[in-house]
Amino acid sequence: MLVNLRQSIADWIFRARFPETSPVTLVQRRIFILPSKEGYVFALVLLVLLVASINYALSLGFILTFLLAAMGSVAMLHTWRNLAHLRIRPGRGDSVFAGDTAHFAVVIESPVRERFAVGLRRRDEEPVFADIAEREATTVGIAVKAGRRGRLKCGRVEIYTRYPVGLFHAWSYFDFGQGVIVYPRPDPSAGPPPSRSVSESGEGVPIPGEDDFHHLREYRPGDPLRHVAWKALARGDQLLTKEFHATASGELWLDWNDARAADPEARLSFLAHWVIECERIGLRYGLRIPGVSVPPDRGESHRARCLEALALHGEGAPR
């Protein structure tokens, strides 16, 4: 109940503020603090102790009660201090397939003191805890289940702590607008890439098989590391990539119309499977779906481009 109330108040307070620019420093006015449920129980226990002390005229009882009460108020300060002045910036988030778990990295740094048991959580989800070292970037991954393809936003994250004694809950929110692309889940039942589409270029049927070294070309970001010409690099040449051709320049178009499935989502899953397969066996492949056409190529970045096109199909231009 309390959590919900807190969430709705936060929704109202932050409605126009997010997403915000990185990095965020948790300054005093960003941090909220309230007693936790245990804190309220503790207050009740203090009341019982106080009444007992008064009633039985126990001086040591008074001392115990007041010591615990004072400890509670000092603890409030410590809880607040455990969050104050933290610097937060977004880390990178990798694309995932639908059904997998996406990890939004958040980098937290403490300018003073080590911080303990700082929790991060999205609304209504399990928190993840970390100790934050002093003057050292600590990366915390917020795991989010990627349900369906498309853009997955991290959304507002609550950063909170109850250290040292759990009687107070200090928290703040941040939202960097972090997002990852969720690819359609590849569907192996799609079978091998259809051969019909190959004939369009009229250059024969590609034979999947042993990779033959073709030529060296300049390195492009996204090329697989195992294709880098390390020997050439060692000789002092520039960074080069070894091009392999499985067949004599076989080019394959993966076409929306070839993916014969019941609904668009299933088609996308088929196409995703083919993209992965083609990349795995080293074909040059292009992608044609309504609205998007990716010319044939190969390599990690090409694969990512194709999968992204599939992921964002029907979602309009990326913002």
């Binding site: 019982v48 040591l60 007041f66 300060l77 410590h78 201090r81 002045h85 399990e126 805890f129 915390v140």
Partner: protein
Amino acid sequence: MSAAIPNAALDARGVMWLLGAMLFVVAPHLARMPEWVGAFFVLMVAWRGWVAWRARHFPMRWVVFLLTVAAAAGTFLQYGRLFGRDAGTTLLILMAAMKLVEMRTSREVLLAIHLGFVLVMTNFLYSQTIPMGIYMLACVWIFVATLVGYQRGVGRPATVAERLVPAGKLLAQALPLMVVLFVLFPRVTGPLWALPQDARAGLSGLSDTMTPGNISKLIQSEATAFRVEFDGDIPAYQWLYFRGPVLWAFDGRSWRMSEFSPAAALEYPKAERPVKYAMTVEPHGKHWLFALDVPGSLPPGVSARHDLQLRSVRPVDARIRYEMTSYLDYRFGEKLPAGFREFALRFNTWQNPRTIALGRQWAAENPDPRRVIGRALQYFNSQFTYTLEPPLLESDDPYDEFLFDKKRGFCEHYAGSFALLMRAAGIPSRIVTGYQGGEINPLNRELIVRQADAHAWVEVWLEGEGWVRVDPTSAVSPNRIDSGINAALGPIGVIPSLIAADRLGILSNLRFAWDALNSQWNQWVLGYNIDRQRQFLTRLGIDALDWMTLALWLAGVSFAVAGLVSLWLVARDLPRRDPPAVRAWKRYGEKLARAGLARAPHEGPLDYLARVRAARPDLGPEAVAITERYVQARYGTGLTAPEARELAQRVRDFRPA
């Protein structure tokens, strides 16, 4: 990067800490409670420990339920109730044990820790000594450390230091606020509601019987029995006899209050030297009240028995205050009814035969009872020693043993044997217990009478004079009556053998220091009640007469102290300023950046210098000088104060743009 959920499951080490803390806090109770309670508790703790350590299954719910019911039933069978000090504490211990057995989540652990705090409090119902205070502070520390442990562990259980150090810091930082609260929190008079009957079991005070040995136990207590505010001068010490229970019945060893004792009006044939005063009696849980001999008026709700003992209708469970008038010069009870006379002469002839023979012999030698009394006092004066640590009287004839063998004793020995001697000599006599003397507080001219001032004396009935007070102790130790108990004992009166062996005086000094410490503890911690609070605050210049004013002071000072502690903690978090050389270097970098020569993050000072000189030869000399100084400050011998100033000046004058 570490990412785990603390508290998701109860880690075994955290549970062990909690169990240890619980054992600690319950340990002092184990000696006080019936054996089965301790056995049950230890067994449950061991069971829980085994479950946690070996990751066993939890006991089934119905087993826990049955055990809980059995524990409650056992408590009821033991005490006949579930509330009150002993029964309540027992029940709390047993329920805490059951809570330990059944707890499965971290939330329940916190609940158990809260129970632990309450258990700390129950210990104070039994003992509030300095060692107990220190022991319980340690318990609180362990409990807080357990709390910290449950918050601290990320992906692994917290270490011992990670628990104890933050907990210790928390408690240390809480101390100032605790002191403020303790001093200023408004105290009230008396309990908020009627206390259970056994709540006062630990209270010291007189009892309705007197056996050699039981008053001297009271003498060890510094607790206040009552306070007296006199309207006018305080009478001299030897007049300060505060009358309490009057004991008539004698069984050969103990003197008891008689069952039959009709009420009487306070009428005296002679009543002079009236003294007006107000008594403030600390709760002692019994019906009797005290008054200077002899009481001349009755407060409301109080009656007087025919032997001048005041009785309150309700037991004195709360501090009460009443106005009194007494007469120091009086005569009463001139007519002694035959029944009372017979009662005041009764004793068992088969016990204490030598004492009885001595009394009879004196009576035979002296027909005048006054001569017999003088003879007895002379006897005590000649051969006896007054001591707080009298040897035990173990035989069936305790007064024979005392009078003829041991000859060392305390007021109850003297009063008891004197009364028996009188009865043997045919003089009606009875024992009066109460308090004698007291300590005058120089601040407010109040007389404070402590349990240590407990005393017993004798009243004998003489034809034509009525009941007359005779204090045999004064014959042995006149100091006791003239100036109080401490003067009578002297500095080394209590444990002479030990003190004699302690030639260097270390032991006695230690004992004095410990006594002094205890006295301060009693006065300022245990005795810090509404009066003491008022007195203390007045001395500080705070006239906090009503609790509203006090509450305002409390709020103000608490906020101030809490604010100071907060400021101190928060100030340590403020970003530290860079040393001057670094600040100068940063400004130098900023100036160059504006001129299009920003330092790259990876660039060292010398590389940067090379680049600057290449790009702007005109800046060369200045850049070299600044860079050299900076390198010297950071990586070399450091800078002297003039050198640092020179560097700052150079940077100020540096104009690249």
